[in-house]
């Protein structure tokens, strides 16, 4: 088996009294698109910055292509391209100049690929960066990264500010990169994007990876949501093992069922009599909710307050 591209074990990073990373484990295999999911402040960007050698870890081990990202930063950077979530450019350089600059600093620029990407992302490279919207600055960094032939793409929420059309272009580009054998670490909180692109995902929360695996593995561990319009009263379904959160709204029954308990529930539903039925696998949103479940009561309370104000 080939060595992982990224391997972090028990990584710790503190900023003063706050602990940004608290024993983070992360393994990214060659050639995979690895989704790195978590809410703001979970430690995604800190991890990225340690992988780039900008920050030094306070504990644990981290290897990039088998080398130390702090000590061997320059050598490692020949093999990767990085796109931050909030790209800052030099106000008086044009987008085209910034694209070329980054690619040349990386060592090589595929001119044809660069022009093709400029075209696909619909960027005007002659405008000064100070006139660019956030989305356009993001495009500059993406085009530059994608136009460089590298082994690893470190993308930290790369499509923040892009419109849905460009999101599609971005997804195509990532698929092309993977087809070419590039490894991608894609941090995001746009769940749909990770869902479509990632081979495996790691969910990070409060500086630790709480779950890692392929989407299929994680789904297995989670629940299917069923919404049905029934003839009879389905209230007794709540008694079945593995059924959660059953409620009835305007004649529709909503329930969640554990992945391995779907069959008996469907059988019982059929007995009650079904007029229409929708079942869907858990979205990443729901996967995340499971791990940030303790945030929910607080949110519910906030919503309650809001209602009372009205």
């Amino acid at each position: 088996m080939t060595a992982p591209v990224i391997h972090a074990a028990d990584l710790v990073k503190r900023f003063g009294s706050t602990t940004a990373l608290d024993g983070l484990d992360l393994t990214v295999e060659p050639g995979e698109v690895h989704g790195f999911l978590g809410p703001n402040g979970a430690g995604k960007s800190t991890t990225m910055r340690i992988l780039l050698g900008m920050l030094r870890a306070d504990g644990g081990t981290v290897e990039l292509f088998g080398a130390d990202p702090w000590a061997d930063a320059v050598t490692l950077h020949r093999r990767l391209a990085y796109v931050p979530g909030d790209v800052e450019l030099w106000p008086n350089l044009t987008g085209g100049e910034a694209i070329d600059l980054f690619a040349r600093l990386r060592g090589s620029l595929d001119r044809r690929r660069r022009d093709e990407l400029v075209e696909r992302f619909g960027l005007d490279p002659t405008k000064k960066a100070r006139t660019y919207s956030k989305g356009n600055r993001q495009k500059v960094a993406l085009i530059s990264a994608l136009a460089s032939p590298v082994d690893l793409l470190l993308l930290d929420e790369p499509t923040a500010g892009l419109d849905p059309l460009m999101e599609v272009v971005f997804q195509d580009c990532i698929r092309e990169a993977r087809a070419a054998g590039t490894t991608v670490l894609l941090s995001s909180h746009i769940l749909a994007q990770v869902e479509v692109l990632a081979d495996r995902i790691s969910i990070i929360r409060e500086g630790r990876v709480v779950e890692t695996g392929s989407l299929r593995d994680l789904r297995h561990m989670s629940r299917t949501t069923i919404v049905a319009d029934t003839v009879g009263d389905p209230a007794h379904l709540a008694q079945l093992p593995g059924v959660h959160d059953l409620r009835t709204e305007e004649g529709h029954v909503h329930l969640e069922v554990d992945g391995d308990r779907v069959q008996p529930v469907l059988r019982e539903l059929a007995d009650v009599g079904v007029r229409s039925l929708v079942a869907h696998p858990p979205t990443l949103e729901q996967l995340l909710m499971r791990h940030y479940g303790d945030d929910l009561p607080a949110r519910d309370r906030a919503e309650q307050d809001e209602l009372e104000v009205r």
Partner: protein
């Protein structure tokens, strides 16, 4: 009718193009609550300083007469005004002839920045759109900006006039100086209101208005140079009109009417242009830049050269211009040497007045160039704080290459500025004195100080590498020491350690003394050690993220 309905019914009072002006005025005053008082206080301090310093330099008004040649001859008039009333100088006339022009300039700069900040900068950032989406009229923003300019300039006028009176200067003249200051400020607020309509960018808007101010200054300078009291050319410049009021001498108010007229014209033009364009749009089209980077923009050095280019050029031109102007003063200084007050003569080197003056000029260019160095090295801090350094360092660019490139470019600019200033100051001095040998002597005086300026590069590198938060305070403090020691080292009898703190104190005083290589070598070694240690520190510390 219930209140719930009334809440959603637009009232007549809220439908004009000026709706919301009052709220915006309060909002702008709140945003500028420190900035504007600082500008006004600066002008007030200047008036007080002149009032205190003049009797200090020349204890009697007879003694004052001996310094008149500094402002009285053509080059002096270029930089001060028409030179009215200097045949019978008093402190107040000296104030009007030598210094009020700078009050006008400061008021104009305050107004240019104020208007650009509240009009085009707001539109460029998109904040104006947020504001205008509320119940705010089309012209409310510009109107509120002009009201705030009026508040600031009236405050400036009152403070300047009041403190001039407090200096014991005559009433009419003092009121006239205050009024002229405020009106020049307002006129340039009007000019900026127009330029803000033209360009999409606030920097271009302020730059265009600044160019108008520059042209006004040059026209007045040439006009006033021609003869005492000014010539026709003085009368085509708004700064000339303000000077032609002749405070404490002619005491005439009517030239201010010209300023009022120009103000009315520019304000009307600004509103007319604004009602003719879309929010965010400019009347001058934005020029497209290059779609591809030039070949040299692809290395850390190329990037640093590009990023440092405009500030290096701007500082360089300004410093060299300063040198040339000072060089042109050489003959006037020599001519008036015998009559100068002792204090001033001491400042320029006692007996060998001319050489002492040239030594002083080199020190002056040295500390201003050091200020450029500190300013330019701070780019590294900005790059790091804005996350752009991280983007560059995420490529195979080492920290040494990144910071080293910037430091090398800054050092190269500093050397270039010193050489160019030395050469051109020397040429200017040689031209006015007719002594060709001054070119070489002046150039050598400047070259002699280059190692001292490079020590500042070393110190900045050291601070940036090990204690980046201390870069600005410590480096600027050193520049402050260099200015203090350079200007007043002999005059104020400063303690030895303070004088020694300034790197500029250590080279020999060329051309008064002969060139001494030993201190230069020491300074160069110090500079190199500073840079090396700084880069070592940068490699060991973490790259600071944004915010």
């Amino acid at each position: 009718m219930t209140t719930a309905v009334a809440r959603h019914t637009p009232t007549r009072a809220g439908s004009g193009s000026l709706t919301g002006t009052g709220t915006l005025v309060r909002f702008m005053l709140r945003r500028d609550r420190f900035r504007l008082p600082a500008w006004v206080a600066g002008m007030g301090l200047f008036v007080v300083y002149v009032g205190v310093a003049l009797p200090e330099v020349a204890p009697t008004e007879e003694a004052l007469a001996t310094t008149v040649p500094i402002f009285n001859q053509p080059v002096g008039r270029m930089f001060t005004g028409p030179g009215l009333g200097l045949d019978a100088p008093t402190y107040e006339r000296f104030f009007a002839a030598g210094y009020v022009l700078y009050l006008f300039l400061v008021a104009a700069l305050m107004s240019i920045m104020l208007v650009a900040r509240h009009t085009r900068a707001e539109e460029q950032s998109g904040r104006a759109e947020l504001v205008r989406a509320n119940v705010v009229g089309r012209h409310a923003g510009l109107t509120a900006t002009l009201v705030v300019s009026l508040v600031a300039n009236v405050a400036a006028a009152v403070v300047v006039a009041g403190l001039a009176l407090a200096n014991g200067f005559a009433t009419t003249g003092s009121l006239l100086v205050g009024a002229a200051t405020g009106l020049v400020g307002m006129t340039f607020a009007g000019v900026t209101a127009v330029t803000a309509q033209l360009s999409e960018y606030s920097r271009s808007a302020a730059g265009l208005a600044g160019a108008v101010l520059g042209v006004a200054f040059v026209l007045r300078a040439l006009g006033d140079m021609v003869r005492v009291g000014g010539s026709a050319l003085s009368w085509v410049s708004p700064l000339g009109w303000a000077g032609q009021t002749g405070p404490y001498v002619l005491d005439r108010w009517w030239p201010l009417l010209l300023l009022v007229g120009l103000l009315a014209l520019t304000v009307a033009l600004a509103f007319w242009l604004q009602s003719r364009r879309d929010l965010g749009a400019g009347l001058l089209a934005a020029r497209p830049g290059r779609a591809e980077a030039r070949p040299w923009l692809g290395t850390p050095l190329g990037l640093a050269a590009r990023l440092q280019r405009s500030s290096g050029l701007a500082w360089g031109v300004a410093i060299v211009a300063l040198g040339i102007v000072d060089g042109l003063f050489t003959q006037a200084l020599v001519d008036s040497a015998a009559d100068l007050p002792d204090l001033l003569r001491e400042m320029f080197g006692g007996e060998t007045m001319r050489d002492g003056y040239l030594t002083f000029l080199a020190v002056l260019v040295g500390y201003v160039t050091s200020a450029y160095v500190v300013f330019a090295v701070q780019t590294l801090r900005t790059e790091e704080a804005r996350g752009r350094a991280e983007a560059v360092l995420a490529t195979p660019t080492s920290r040494t290459a990144w910071a080293g490139s910037h430091l090398a470019v800054v050092a190269a600019w500093a050397v270039l500025i010193m050489v160019a200033a030395g050469l051109l100051t020397g040429l200017a001095a040689a031209a006015v004195t007719g002594d060709g040998a001054l070119v070489g002597a002046t150039l050598l005086a400047h070259l002699n100080l280059i190692p001292a300026v490079l020590v500042v590069v070393g110190l900045c590198a050291l601070l940036f590498g090990w204690a980046p938060v201390l870069l600005a305070p410590v480096a600027w403090a050193l520049v402050g020491v260099m200015v203090l020691v350079g200007n007043f080292g002999t005059l104020l009898d400063l303690p030895r350690w303070l004088v020694d703190l300034s790197p500029l104190s250590h080279p020999a005083q060329v051309p008064v003394e002969d060139l001494d290589v030993a201190p230069l070598v020491v300074l160069l070694v110090l500079a190199a050690v500073g840079v090396a240690l700084g880069i070592l520190g940068l490699g060991r510390r973490q790259v600071l993220g944004r915010s």
